[in-house]
């Protein structure tokens, strides 16, 4: 119902596409475990910055695409990302005013939540990975957050995405 015009939808789409591409770029051996959850990062940023544009549904759709891209059970990442989007939308006013390091901590919690859901679903449907194997990626996601935040904020301001 807002009277303001929406701008720069293509910037949001492009950032999601880039995040999806980054999440399947081949990494050697154990580095794979350290891959930040790019899609989660970008989703959280847009949920926080433009809560009126990015909804739980978009998080869910993005998760569906990620499911096919990674060839996991359909609905697994969809559920996890919908939940992440939901929580971020609920807390966006609080997270926005946090200093960067506190934001990063919240990102850690959200990513861990996502990884835990994925781990549980994997455990329910077949072989369960080791619990400790989900920690490294949550950790690197937290470390990358300030970078993504500053970068996407620059992009958002440069292209007047509202």
């Amino acid at each position: 119902m807002s009277l303001t015009q929406h701008h720069g939808g293509w910037v949001i789409t492009l950032s999601f596409l880039l995040a999806l591409a980054l999440s399947i770029v081949p990494l050697p051996g154990l580095m794979e475990m350290l891959r930040p959850e790019w899609v989660t990062l970008v989703l959280i940023y847009w949920c926080m910055a433009l809560p009126n544009r990015v909804s739980v549904g978009i998080g869910w759709l993005l998760g569906l695409v990620l499911d096919v891209l990674r060839d996991t059970l359909i609905g697994q990442y969809a559920l996890a990302l919908a939940l992440v989007a939901f929580l971020t939308l609920h807390l966006h006013q609080r997270i926005r005013v946090f200093p960067l390091w506190q934001q990063a901590l919240s990102i850690f919690v959200l990513t861990m939540l996502q990884n835990l859901i994925v781990l549980w679903i994997k455990g329910l449907t077949g072989h369960s990975p080791d619990f400790w194997s989900i920690l490294p990626s949550a950790f690197t996601t937290m470390l990358v957050w300030p970078l993504i935040y500053l970068l996407l904020r620059q992009v958002r301001r440069a292209y007047h995405v509202v």
């Binding site: 399947i24 794979e32 739980v56 869910w60 994925v118």
Partner: protein, 280 residues
């Protein structure tokens, strides 16, 4: 409210995907949409391969060529014997009045250089059911041995589970004495486990494990793994046996899709059914 709806929808989708085949079309549809992403991500690796080929010096090419010719001759001489053995085998089979072997059909596909789910061992190949009659469960091999089997066939690409995936198990037998076993993946590169073999089983380090053809997925006789460790502990009911896949699971770029010849499968009361109709 919307979250609850979507969560319920996800859970429904997951259940359907796990238990049935209904969501296959959804997956195929999205897979077509994301194939460009996978293709683009894989491009740099292809480009490096291409430049390596394009700028190889004359000398390297000559050396390569010589090597290949030598290898070709060696293989040809082995093949001479093979044709003879094949003929003999066919003859013996005719004498036994068992069904005759039909040749297996193969198709070369390329792996896309992308990383999928970090918790499983899955690869993408650049062939789908758009151009060829691929089917779910189809075995893939490389030049050395068995690699895995297709789990999802999409229009332009397919995904295959490698034999090292923790959810993968493959019936094998020891080439030396025909001892049957199951090789289970462990989620780590280059490691298979052979569970449930008793401590006194006749299996040694260095034994070659080939596919046994039971289970109706892999045709019999493909090299699968080599035993690397046999630990017997009298306190435990079973021996701890580990093996290493023969195929270069993390290095092969080109793979072969195999259409098993139906008559290669063991004769059983309840013969295996294949989705593939004709084997030309």
């Amino acid at each position: 409210m919307r979250l609850l709806l979507l969560a319920a929808l996800s859970i429904t989708l997951m259940t359907l995907d796990q238990r049935t085949d209904y969501v296959r079309n959804i997956r195929s549809g999205i897979a077509v949409l994301v194939y460009p992403i996978q293709y683009l991500v894989s491009l740099p690796a292809d480009f490096f391969d291409w430049t390596a080929d394009a700028f190889a010096s004359r000398e390297t090419l000559q050396v390569n060529n010589e090597e290949l010719q030598r290898e070709n001759q060696a293989l040809r001489s082995q093949l001479q014997k093979l044709t003879f053995i094949e003929a003999e085998n066919r003859h013996l089979r005719e004498l036994l009045q068992s069904s005759k072997r039909v040749g297996e059909k193969v198709l070369i596909a390329e792996l896309l250089a992308v990383d999928l789910d970090p918790f499983s061992k899955v690869v993408v190949i650049n062939k789908g059911d758009r151009d060829d009659l691929l089917y779910r469960g189809q075995p893939i091999v490389d030049a050395r041995g068995v690699m895995g089997k297709l789990i999802h066939v999409n229009p332009y690409s397919s995904t295959a589970m490698l034999i090292t995936d923790p959810n993968h198990a493959m019936p094998v037998q020891v080439l030396r004495n025909g001892l049957r076993a199951v090789a289970v993946g462990h989620g780590q590169d280059g490691l298979l486990e052979i569970p449930n073999l008793p401590n006194n089983a006749d299996i040694k380090v260095g034994d070659l494990l080939v596919t046994s053809g039971l289970g109706c997925v892999f045709p019999a006789g493909y090299p699968a793994a080599r035993v690397t460790e046999v630990t017997t502990n009298p306190a435990l009911p079973f021996a701890r046996i580990r093996a290493e896949p023969i195929a270069w699971l993390d290095r092969s770029r080109e793979v072969l899709l195999v259409w098993p010849a139906v008559s290669d499968l063991p004769q059983m009361a309840n013969p295996c059914k294949f989705e593939v109709e004709e084997v030309p």
